[in-house]
Symmetry: C2
């Protein structure tokens, strides 16, 4: 589930919310899963992974991560990303492009306090994407963290990322394959609308 807070009253946000509610009513699984793609200027590499969207706060889409993970390093080297959702229950694809930045320490600390201790133990114990000898090693690190750490204190290497898209595309699949594509691009303070060919 995604939590909506004071959602921006602008057309792509309104459509996003409507489609979300429709997919949710249809029992969409993993409705919060979004593919975040980044470009690392040093490695000259595009990379993608799914993360869970937690909030849409005003105009900002927010998810959480380890700040030392490869994706965090990629965001530092190139702060523009794409975000891609697909809800099969309503056959809708949503494409977004955005700049991305970290949320505040204050925000991270508050959010971390409210999470389950188990989730926090995992955030504390895992050096996200680093190599480890075996999956058993992962389980051992986790058990250690569960027993020893202060589990409501947010480590400085963990927190949120926030992105405010400058581009949305809503793609609706049709059986005829004449898919419907509506794009919204922010130019100055307005959203330009275009219909795209399938």
């Amino acid at each position: 589930m995604i939590k909506f807070i004071n959602l921006k009253k602008e057309i792509p946000y309104t459509i996003f919310r409507e489609k979300y509610e429709e997919a949710h009513r249809k029992g969409q699984k993993n409705i919060e899963a979004v593919a975040i793609s980044s470009y690392d200027c040093k490695k000259k590499e595009v990379e993608s992974r799914f993360v869970n969207l937690k909030f849409v706060d005003d105009g900002s889409f927010i998810f959480f991560s380890n700040y030392k993970s490869p994706k965090s390093l990629a965001f530092e080297s190139h702060n523009q990303i794409s975000a891609l959702l697909y809800w099969d229950s309503i056959n809708i694809q949503i494409r977004m492009k955005s700049k991305i930045s970290k949320t505040s320490l204050h925000f991270n600390k508050n959010y971390f306090k409210g999470r389950s201790l188990k989730k926090n133990a995992l955030a504390i114990s895992s050096h996200q994407s680093s190599y480890i000898e075996s999956y058993e090693g992962v389980q051992q690190n986790f058990s250690k963290a569960l027993n020893s750490s202060n589990l409501s204190e947010c480590p400085e290497y963990w927190g949120g990322f926030s992105f405010v898209p400058y581009y949305f595309e809503f793609w609706e699949g049709h059986k005829s394959r004449l898919n419907k594509r509506d794009a919204y691009e922010k130019v100055d303070d307005a959203w330009n609308h275009h219909v795209l060919q399938p």
Copy 2:
């Protein structure tokens, strides 16, 4: 559905096939949907979209597109991409990184001939991702193409893209959130295996 042809006998391909068969047995919807992400060096922009994988031929993953579409231009400017699949029926995410290139004219022509005339009319009539006045315009262009074109002749602006990954990650979600991550990276002619922290 993805068609497998003389699949490469190397470990990440074997795992890919096994997971595919498992997801297919569980009735996975849109099993062929893969998020392809590209970087356009001119626009300095990452962009992502879902496409349908059609073949895994030896070591090559193949999908089709309009060669004048924004993704084709992005591949020309930076020929490295990421490919991301998620099969919710078995809670598996597959992450790949690869170089990408066009398939041969001969291959494209042969494949085009075997497709339905309706699909071909769409490929011929649509200037993929170009602006158009309205969705009705899309329908009109399609109707025109259906009636007038030689529908089994592949236009030069349509064809396949092929990618042979140098990196695979198989991510298995666990309820405990201690997700299992196995990465395979091609170094010279061998696949190096690593377990990654969740």
